[in-house]
């Protein structure tokens, strides 16, 4: 691919190679920063038995909801699936979906570790709780910790406000959330943005995600489900 132009002509072309069984991270939190256009593209593509890593599991048909409605997801790693995740909850109750529930800060720290080449790390979060089940525990300087594994993915589907053609990214307000972390932890990172600018047009001081973490860019106006 042309590193000086990672812009894809359409959402559908940017997700066209995502196969059945892929592990995919999705950015977004609290209605902000979800790559809703890419999610819709993945729904049209129809890849199935996906393994999903996301803070939550959709709001009705919105956000990840459509992928659950279409029964495209078989496995979930999440911190807070959410009361609005109707289709996820139905399929979870029916035993159709495997769920790994992870504390929110550990969810993103496991991604950060993966992106940084750290295979596992000791953490105080969840010591003495259900989260610690099956994990190695160790006392370090008098305090109890559990071993958490790094978490990576085949694809990260994220949203930013603006990209240059190389993939340097700028986010908007609290729509940043998980997006920059996921960009570092996937083999292929696909970003939807409001606007693409020429290389050199972004102030390097304001770039949050450097282009080295971004593979594909598509321009798509924000879809929001509130």
């Amino acid at each position: 691919m042309d590193r000086k132009n990672r812009v894809y002509p359409s959402v559908d072309e940017s997700v066209a190679d995502i196969p059945d069984g892929a592990t995919i991270m999705f950015g977004g939190f609290g209605g902000a920063g979800f790559p809703n256009n890419l999610i819709q593209g993945l729904a049209r593509r129809g890849a199935r038995n996906l393994r999903v890593i996301s803070n939550n599991c959709g709001t009705g048909d919105g956000e990840l909801g459509i992928l659950f409605k279409n029964r495209q997801i078989g496995h979930v790693v999440a911190a807070f699936p959410g009361p609005g995740a109707t289709y996820f909850q139905q399929q979870f109750d029916a035993g159709d979906i495997d769920l790994e529930l992870v504390p929110q800060g550990i969810l993103c720290e496991r991604m950060r570790a993966y992106g940084a080449g750290i295979p596992a790390f000791y953490s105080p979060v969840g010591v003495g709780t259900d989260v610690a089940k099956g994990k190695e525990e160790r006392v370090i300087r008098g305090k109890r910790y559990i071993l958490e594994q790094a978490l990576g993915a085949d694809y990260a589907l994220i949203r930013a406000q603006r990209a240059d053609r190389m993939g340097n990214l700028v986010y908007r307000k609290a729509a940043r959330n998980f997006n920059p972390i996921m960009a570092t932890a996937a083999k292929t990172t696909i970003v939807e943005v409001e606007e693409v600018v020429e290389i050199g047009a972004l102030d390097p001081e304001t770039v949050v995600t450097p282009s080295i973490f971004v593979d594909r860019i598509v321009v798509a106006k924000g879809l929001r489900y509130v």
Binding site: G31, V131, R176
Partner: protein, 225 residues
């Protein structure tokens, strides 16, 4: 003297007095979320939200919402001068790394050792969700739990040992309820204040572990009725 247990708003009003000027503070769901409204006018609190905001202000007025600027409960909010945005991972560097001065969370059960259970009722339907509660509980410099003193069926929520799934062990410093302010200390639970009109004995009846107190226990300072 009337003898009403405090309302949720009054619990929040009392909890607001625990926040010193210029503190970095995270508020959880439920009663904690009501506290910001009761911070005295001459006190500035830098509220943290785990989706990447430090320096959150009040809710955005209707018609002026920006849905890229929401708190951890999805509510559109505003910023105060000095605010900053950052990623979720940096937000939890702040929680887990011990950088927040005070966190206030809701509770289902608190044990006499300060264990907290607040994310799941056993046998409840659905998948449940942990969210940021475990990271926040482990890392807070000071963790306050606000909750009703007993459950709707009268069952005690301050217990010797939690029976609900735990959020974190030995993490709670202070419990503020509709009946009392209680500090968790190495020597056990210390009854610091009682709700207006209630006696320490009445609070003890509704609390499983032994409460320590000497002499007359002061009443919780509540202005609004």
């Amino acid at each position: 003297m009337s003898k009403q247990r405090l309302t949720r708003e009054q619990i929040a009003e009392r909890a607001a007095l625990e926040l010193p000027d210029c503190a970095y503070v995270n508020l959880g769901w439920g009663i904690p979320n009501l506290i910001a409204a009761y911070v005295p006018k001459d006190v500035t609190i830098y509220f943290h939200s785990e989706n990447g905001i430090l320096g959150m202000g009040p809710r955005a007025p209707q018609g002026q919402e920006d849905f890229d600027l929401v708190d951890a409960m999805k509510a559109p909010v505003t910023l105060i001068p000095g605010a900053a945005y950052f990623s979720q991972v940096d937000a939890h560097v702040m929680t887990r790394g011990g950088h927040l001065d005070i966190c206030v969370l809701g509770g289902l059960q608190v044990s006499e050792k300060g264990d907290l259970a607040n994310w799941r009722v056993p046998g409840a339907k659905g998948a449940g969700g942990i969210g940021g509660a475990m990271d926040i509980s482990v890392g807070a410099q000071r963790l306050i739990v606000t909750m009703e003193h007993t459950a709707k069926d009268g069952l005690r929520k301050i217990v010797k040992t939690c029976t609900y799934p735990l959020t974190a062990i030995e993490c709670v410093n202070t419990i503020i309820t509709d009946l009392a302010v209680i500090d968790v200390t190495p020597e056990g639970l210390v009854l610091r204040e009682v709700a207006p009109g209630f006696t320490p004995e009445e609070v003890q009846e509704r609390t499983e572990p032994k409460l320590r107190y000497t002499g007359k226990v002061p009443e919780m300072a509540i202005k609004r009725r």
